[in-house]
Symmetry: C2
């Protein structure tokens, strides 16, 4: 298997990406760094990073935050992101990992790697820790405006991912909504509820109110991309606000500092549990090949995890299962 | 001033409501408990609650969770909620506090107490603690589907409330959105952004992503009722999930329990800071008189706080300011 990695995506590129690739050698697959070969070699040499065994695929430019997303298709077709995506589309790599701009990654993945037949829209998802088992949030930002049938497909896509990649059995699906009753929500949720309830390809257990989302009682939370984005970022923001408030408690006095030191191993475990980079990046699901969007602030460890995720996903049979399920769905609609 | 209190609203009625009313006597205003006089007297006697100085306004029935919201208007016009709202509308009370069902309280408040001239839709809001100062979230559930002009009014309503009731100077308004750039969001947010930016009655500082919402960098977060409901309940759910995970850390061993005991006063302060019942209930704003929807699980302390909030609000001049600002806005549109 060959995994292509965007060497120039994200805030810490290229050094942390190179280091992440080196860490990911442990998985035994062929890794391919995509980006300016000259700069990659220089960076590796300056920082004593040993890239032996890792291939380099040259690309002249970089997609940056200020580029229009569509530039990935033409104006910046020579960017590391674009070259990597084309390598995947051409079968020269089995999956692609990038920490570059989300909008460009979504547009490039959709137009270059292309959708699985029957998929209306690829979705961006994230595995998020909860008090119990982690859950998958889909869509968390690819499609701000959705139709009910899209949410219904997201449910299938999310369920297959959790089953095949994360090993969940018969994942419980919830629809993010403003109440538990089936008549709740805007027109979108009301209609999506009916489709989800009638869908025998998933284990839909009902509406999930905001307070139920992080409870661990749902394995897949389905939302339009606007709502999903709010859920994802509010989760990040609250976790960090609460942690900083707790730190204040710990640093109040000498004795509280001592007490906090005693609790340190437990708190580290807690922090670890809440760290969702350990599940990798955000899968862009619904494509013919796996594309993982790693967080823009990814360090080497996060890149390594995203590579492992791309490998697991590539091996998992998600794509084949979705082609079968959603192709069937489309046929039935026709 | 006379504050009417629904004696039969919420999970802990009537006992906790009666106790809350007794606690609220300290504010020196005339309190009026609304509900079956017989049952109120019996409950007070059985539990040794001294209701001296508190009036009772008899009402035969109760709005419960299973009633249709509209029942408050006719079928259950003899309920404590309906009688209380009519007392406010008739000028027999200056404000109303209820922990009864939200849908019925919204419908009853809108149709019985009625809107301020110029207000398109009353909104439900909540003051939520943040790492710094608390912020107001508006709308958090009254209007699942909104038009851009409604969000623009919510911004004015929320700003006036924070200024007049909470004492904030020139409150900073943010629009809950899926990105910081002004073109972000669905059509609703894109259009609302333009209106907010052009509105000289508010201090609009831009879009607030999910992670910015609890940062304390915004004093008023404007959202449609669907998104606001998700934000409110996810905040509740995450805070409680994180607290229970922390408890696990504390109860891991004898020594961690000792350390946690040392930190207890600080943690209590933290818990206190996060407790939003101290700001009262959820104001239903945009009405001719204050109506406070207290949490369904309110205890005596929460009811007392909601009464104090109703008094502050009634004195604050919010209604007059909104009549002036939103009446003017409507005139300008005509």
């Amino acid at each position: 298997m060959r995994i292509a990695i965007d060497a120039f995506g994200g805030d810490n590129a290229p050094l942390e990406i190179l280091k992440g690739a080196v860490l990911a050698k442990q998985y035994g697959e062929q890794l391919v760094l995509v980006g300016s070969e000259q700069e990659i070699r220089n960076c590796a040499q300056e920082n004593g990073v040993d890239l032996s065994g890792i291939e380099i695929m040259d690309a002249k430019t970089v997609m940056d935050m200020h580029d229009e997303a569509r530039a990935v298709l033409k104006a910046k077709a020579d960017s590391s992101m674009s070259v990597g995506l084309r390598a995947v589309a051409a079968g020269e790599a089995d999956a692609f990992v990038t920490a570059g701009p989300t909008g460009a990654a979504l547009m490039g993945a959709t137009m270059i790697v292309r959708r699985i037949k029957g998929v209306k829209r690829p979705a961006l998802c994230v595995v998020i820790p909860s008090a119990k088992k982690p859950y998958l949030l889909i869509d968390c930002g690819a499609n701000a405006e959705c139709r009910p049938e899209m949410l219904n497909q997201f449910a299938v896509m999310g369920s297959v991912y959790m089953e095949k990649v994360m090993g969940y059995e018969n994942p419980r699906v919830g629809l993010a909504n403003n109440g538990a009753e089936d008549s709740k929500g805007t027109e979108l949720q009301v209609e999506a509820y009916k489709l989800l309830k009638a869908n025998d390809q998933i284990n839909f257990i009902g509406n999930a109110e905001g307070r139920d989302v992080p409870s661990g009682d749902y394995d897949v939370i389905v939302a339009d991309g606007f709502t999903g984005n709010i859920i994802l970022k509010l989760t990040e923001g609250l976790a960090s606000a609460l942690m900083s408030m707790l730190k204040e408690v710990f640093y109040q006095s000498t004795i509280s500092k001592l007490a906090a030191a005693v609790l340190k191993p437990g708190l580290r475990g807690f922090k670890n549990k809440m760290d969702y980079t350990k599940y990798g990046g955000a899968p862009i699901i619904g494509l013919q090949k796996p594309v993982v969007k790693a967080h823009g602030s990814s360090n080497a460890e996060a890149i390594k995890n995203a590579v492992r995720q791309a490998i697991d996903w590539s091996r998992s049979g998600v794509t084949e299962a979705l082609a079968e399920k959603l192709g069937r769905q489309t046929d039935a609609e026709e």
